[in-house]
């Protein structure tokens, strides 16, 4: 299934629904680990985290698809997984934070050499953090703390504390406001997103936590306006990139709060080029492909953003540039992740029960940076 134009693409059937995919950062530079949240509706309690190792140099002549991904370990989840994030901890473990439909949060500690799951931490299962599903979880760089948000309107901070997880309710809107996405911006601050393209900026040092709000005037059109994903680049955390319903990819510069910058979609104002008209499930900065100029660029510059959508598009969009389409699948791409160590590699969770591996080669990378 190799593609053309400097792209290599493999679609690997899993025979069960792949909900979220994430890269793990292994110890060795030669290893590639992928964590996937899977479930099979035919089998009761079949939700699980599966950790695969990827063979990065498959034989391109005759790629043996079964050998490309090897299952290393698996952890059964008591409920279907809604959100998954990874980080490395200072204790030489890889941390996987995940949230479930039942409203719980778990931390898994994964061995960075053989990808086995060494330890599992959870909050008190008798009292779930959220009533109803947890919409999103995000873990801090150190792997000690995560934020969880839910449709029930709670914003929780969960931290590791002497081999257990402790949680603190930062805010509870009692269902009056629902949150659908969350992302850390710094050690103390994070952003959440919700209905009507609403974005909230929180600082946990402040009472109540809420610092500022950004609303999109969603009610004017007929389109839905849910935020599905937020990404923030640590060194310039005044810009939040947001992906949501109706093909919307926009950037919100907290220093100029009046108007969002449309990167894609936004048919109302007509400023952005629509890469897709359906839901944008995930957005991530595609900075790894930029070899230089990150620090020298002006602070208002918005770096290229990779997005995946319900109509099967994986593309890189940039302000004022034509979008670069990397993949056009026949079905939805529900999730993707750019390998932080090897940014030319992208893993996708594909609606039709498969995992997609995309490898951008050097030539195409240089093309990307030139444009």
């Amino acid at each position: 299934m190799a593609g053309s134009g400097g792209l290599q693409y493999y679609r690997l059937p899993q025979y069960k629904s792949v909900d979220v995919v994430r890269w793990l950062r292994p110890l060795s530079a030669f290893d590639r680990f992928i964590a996937a949240a899977v479930h099979n509706p035919d089998v009761v309690s079949s939700a699980a985290i599966e950790i695969f190792s990827l063979n990065p140099k498959p034989n391109t002549e005759n790629p043996d698809h079964d050998k490309l991904l090897n299952l290393r370990s698996s952890w059964p989840s008591p409920s279907r997984i809604t959100s998954l994030r990874t980080s490395e901890s200072s204790r030489k473990h890889l941390v996987v934070a995940l949230s479930t439909f039942a409203g719980s949060v778990y931390f898994l500690y994964v061995d960075p050499v053989d990808a086995s799951i060494d330890l599992e931490l959870s909050v008190d299962e008798e009292r779930p953090l959220h009533s109803g599903p947890v919409s999103a979880v995000d873990i801090q760089a150190g792997g000690y703390e995560c934020v969880t948000v839910g449709e029930d309107g709670r914003v929780n901070l969960v931290s590791v504390c002497q081999a257990t997880l402790e949680s603190r309710v930062l805010h509870d809107s009692r269902g009056l406001v629902s949150y659908t996405a969350a992302k850390w911006g710094s050690q103390e601050e994070f952003a959440t997103g919700g209905l009507g393209f609403g974005l909230q900026w929180w600082d946990r040092r402040k009472a109540g936590g809420l610092v500022s709000q950004f609303k999109g005037n969603w009610a004017q059109g007929s389109m839905t306006g849910l935020v599905h994903s937020i990404d923030i680049y640590p060194s310039r955390n005044h810009i939040c990139v947001v992906g949501g319903s109706s093909g919307m990819v926009l950037a919100w510069d907290r220093r100029w709060q009046q108007q969002p910058i449309f990167l894609s979609g936004g048919g109302l104002t007509g400023t952005g080029q629509a890469t897709s008209e359906s839901d944008v499930w995930e957005v991530q900065y595609d900075i790894g492909t930029q070899t230089s100029g990150i620090n020298s660029a002006p602070t208002s510059k918005i770096f290229p953003v990779m997005m995946c959508s319900e109509d099967g598009i994986l593309a890189v969009v940039e302000q004022g540039e034509a979008p670069i389409e990397l993949l056009a699948e026949d079905c939805a791409i529900n999730s993707f992740d750019i390998n932080p160590q090897h940014p030319s590699e992208v893993v996708c969770g594909i609606e039709w029960e498969s995992i997609g591996i995309l490898m951008r080669q050097r030539e195409s990378l240089s093309l990307l940076t030139e444009t």
């Binding site: 059937p13 025979y15 069960k16 629904s17 509706p41 035919d42 439909f101 009533s131 109803g132 599903p133 449709e151 029930d152 309107g153 809107s173 009692r174 269902g175 009056l176 406001v177 629902s178 659908t180 919700g194 209905l195 009507g196 609403g198 709000q213 609303k215 005037n217 969603w218 009610a219 004017q220 839905t224 849910l226 319903s245 008209e277 359906s278 839901d279 319900e310 109509d311 026949d330 079905c331 939805a332 529900n334 609606e351 039709w352 029960e353």
Partner: protein, 719 residues
Amino acid sequence: MPGRPSDPDSAIVPFSPMAEDVPLFPVRHGLKPPIFRVFVSWSRGSHLQVACVCPRDESLEEKADGDLGDEDVGGKVLEVKLGTSDANINEAKRRWIAYGSVPPFALLQGRRNSLAAMSRISSSSTFIDWWKHVLEYSQSISELLGNTRLQSTAVIEDPKLVLERVGEPTSLKAAWQLIEIFYVDRHSFSGLAESVVDWLAEFDCLLSEKDTTVSSKLVKLQEQLVNLQVIEDDPEYWEGISSALSVGWLEVVVKLLRLHGSYQLNQLDSRETENGLVEAVAVLVSTMPCLHHDFPAGKLGQYYRTKPDFVKAWEKWRGQISKLDCSAFWVQCGHRQTREGLRNLLQIMLGNINNISAAVFHWIELLVPHLLFIRPLTAGFEEFQGLAQKCMQIKFNNTPNGLVRLFIGILGENTEVVLAECSKSFGPWMVTHCLELLTADNNQNKIFLHEERYNLGGISILELHRLVYAQVLASHPLTSQIAPTYLVSCPKQGLGLLEILLCRQPVQHHQIILKNLEICRLYELDGISSCIKKIAGIYHWKHGRKGAGIYWLQEARDEATLNHIAHHLFESIGRTISDESFKQWEGLIELLGPDVGSAGGLGFLHTYRDFKKSLKLVESGRTSDVARQAIEALIQLLKSPSTPQRFWFPLLHDSLKLLNWRERPLLNVSETNLLLNKLQELSMAKLRPDFCSTELQPNVLSSVRLALARNLSRAFLEE
């Protein structure tokens, strides 16, 4: 379904053992007989729920209270899975095939629609090349069903490995290719005969599960080869070779011949003639002329594209065989088995029906040597049919399996039988997708399958099968997303069914809601879209997620429900009107946004928030400008029809300070009159029996009235 147990040991419902056609499937319920009642109902997908209820045993109840063990349960509910049983393909694999067949199917439908549009404009014969599109479609589906071609590209070849397979051939693929050969491919470059020969080479092992076939015979021989010392003494060896030759597996024949003992170095001298004969036959086999549209790589035989070339080579080849057959060397060959075996092979190659018939087992296997050795120029379908009839008479099989029944149906040119066999053996996926092949280049079939039928409720057979398949897809949560592709290709009832399906999808997860809304957007089902949003809104509201509920209802523009909801909300606000906890509503009010039109009665909340805000500023000692803003909000609130009556008085009471503003009157005459009217209305309402308010204390009422009156007089003076 109240069936009385006829035989307490086995059956719940009486049945006649004479009726053999009725398939019986035992359901193991594990309950002690007798069973009192059986309830059957449909469950998810093609699952049946069977509830078996035991009779109430009064003696048991008397016996013990807490002594009811597992054996004494009152009944059991079982889930019985119905469905086709192709053991080779499990559910996950089936889903994988279902996903993969969506793009080719959608592409073909798209092409059909654009061709239909084109032919409407220019009535030229654009359908001439239609079968080419169908062939492309068929090949993509075929690829999806698995690559099972024989391959012998191993680096180190095992000399004793004569039969090598990559992957497991499936009946599904065999059936698909068979239909492709007879309905699409037969008008293309490759002839019917060569296609059938190729098909058998790939799928011979599927012809029968129990009876011997050429491939099962060769597999058995393969196992024995390792243990055999003198291979050529064994009759099985020669039988295997003749069988393989009959069906044209030249590679296997040559490989087996080269295992002949006379090739061994220590025997070469003593068996020179024998070896020469074996080699001569091997060479003849490997140079067999074949009429084929392409030259397959790595295969033995001489390939010819055109008929004259082939006929010339064929005559020459047969001449060589006859010459060898009459050769004097046979007399010198001392080894009886070799002599007889080799001459048998020559007879087969010369097309001697008796020798061939002895070497094969199945009528399809007999058909192939006819096409190879007896009448290699068979071209027409009628001729082919006649041949097959003859073969069936010679090699009759009692219990043909689904694949063979399908073959018979195709030969009988009976579309109904073909469809029935497909449905019976391969399920709804096969039927839906192979219908495209059946109608590819056959007008009779096209009319038959597209004709609207009264007994099917006015739909065609084609549409019926698509609807059935779409329902199968929709019954599984993972495949329900692809059902719309098939439903929209059903002209009569497809969209109706799609609407019903979409309205019944679960709304627990907003991702599923959004995916369904996306389907609505693609097929322009605006009504269903707002229906889904309404359902989602109510669901969230009921589960305490007020914000999400209001959001979805607002999206659906459901004013009636929003107004209803507004009244609920006001009750909880009404109690806390001067309370700080109003702050928590901020987020919700933010969500409602400035566009109050779509928010129904909830628009009240927005203005109310503004009023509270400016009132607070007034209390903290701000200027008249702020006070004026508060008054404006107050007037707006009281003018609006969406403000419930019970809020009027608290609003007026809260703004008492504004009414008594020291510097100048904040309200003009008409505004004061409006407020006075509202106050009057309230006082009147107090007299009605259904009015209930504890907050309307007389002294407060009079102070408000006094303030208003004072304001009115000041306003008069000012004007």
